[in-house]
Amino acid sequence: MGRRAFTVVELLIAVSLTAIIAGTLVSVYVFVSTRAAHGVAEQNVLDQVRDLTRDVSKTIENSVRCETVNVSGQWALKCVMPAQPTSTDARNVANAFAPTDLSARGIERWGEGQRVWFYQADETGKLGRAGLYVWRAVRSDDAIPTDADADRAWSFYYGGVRYRWSLINSISFSVTPSERLATVTVKGSVLAGDSEERGKLVGADELDKARTYSLTMSRAAYWLRWRR
């Protein structure tokens, strides 16, 4: 008995099944990869907003006092840190302090040390120039920080060219001195699929799938080492 060829019907069924399976696979792939990209994007903006909020609020908590300062229309937060640091974190920023003296009632007094500033400026880091880059600057006196005081290693990975806060749109501050309270509000957003690079546009064919994820986080922190 010779080998029988496929009938037309069998071929059509086989082609149809293959098309259905391939179509399903492609749809699943597109759906999964889109959702994954959206998920990663959401997580990235959450990470940046949370990390920035945490960095600023920890500085506030460790400080002797904070105030907002307006320089050429740009608002900045200035925190005076205790005089005697005892350890630093991975970025060489003091994160633990020892008191310099005790009050008449035995309460720790901290003295006044470095001034840590947070603000937005352009890529030069000079306070007073409008821009979207978030900067931290450190000085040992009350003078307005210059671009040389800007801590590039904090704003850019390893002090290089890759910007660390690429998804942050704005950072704002409010201070209530009578309550020794400062509030930091950070806004971030990302266009899904554009999670890494600032200003990169998605292609026209992707626009219908693109979605902006926005996040605003506020944290109120008390400065705890207020006895100078």
């Binding site: 399976i21 999964v32 008449a104 207020w226 100078r228």
Partner: protein, 345 residues
Amino acid sequence: MRQRGSTLLIVLVLVGATTTVVIAAADLVISSMTSQWRRYHAVHARYVADAMVEYIQSRRAKGTLSLPTTLNRTIDGSDVTANIQDNSINLKRSLLVEITVEEGGLTFKESRVVGDGFEPKHFYYALASDKTLNLPNSLATTSPGHRGHVYVGNDLNITSLGVTIDGDLEVFRNLTGSASVAGVTWLGVPKISWPTPDPLLYAAGAVFVGSGSVGSHTFSNTALVYETLYAPGDADIQGTFGGRGVVFVGKNIRITGDIYYKDDNALIAIIARDDITVESKVKHIDGFLYAGRTFTQKGANLTVGRGAIVAKSFDLKGNLVVNYDHAVWDDPDVGWRLKLPGFFP
């Protein structure tokens, strides 16, 4: 067979892709929850550490905790261990507390330098008034390390523009007017109990000088015992004093001339159960002054060169400068030997 193999492959790819996505999503969620969990416990551990420090300070204030020691306690469900040792070699009257908090399967460690819990006393301040203090003239306090603190056990009314406090300003009730304060202005501060000296305790072992005048004198003292001059009635005081000792007057003291220390080692306490009046011509006083009733300054300018003034109330008719001597704060035993009210007996 080949078709079944292809189908199986496709199914495996689908299952693999789905599993990868599910695992990735789960990992994100778990990572986020873990971060929140750690953050919560870190904050809680900090409050637990605060509570442990307060407990240690209260035990030290009561004198029920010897150093060095290790304490274990459970606070708000967290197990806390604290190693406590004297840190006076780095900062006088401070403790080094190394705290470990175990909670939620996590361990938090923190090292703190804190005050060696003690009750405040009037002689820890450059100027302390139990009642309302009015400042119509200038007042300046100084001390190395910004320790020229001022305490007022009622209201503080400042009408002078020249009040400069090189330390903290603590007021029990209300503050009117303004002052330049190097430290912290603290309103509503807990009141410090007013100490009243018992004459009998001062008379024991004292040299009786009778009522009259006390002039220049060098006290004979050992490291542990300071000489006491005792006047049961009123007394006038002026002159230069050496050594370390106490002048106790049962009624009123009139300071009729300048009082100076003979050398850097000298320390004297001038204690009046009632009033201390400083005559107009007096410009300079060294010593720790205590008036059980009113301290009156008649002259236009008076400087306390090294010491402090504690009085129930003040009547200041001129400008006053107080350079605080923190020997008593650094070592409260010195306050006890000087028989300063609040330290003695």
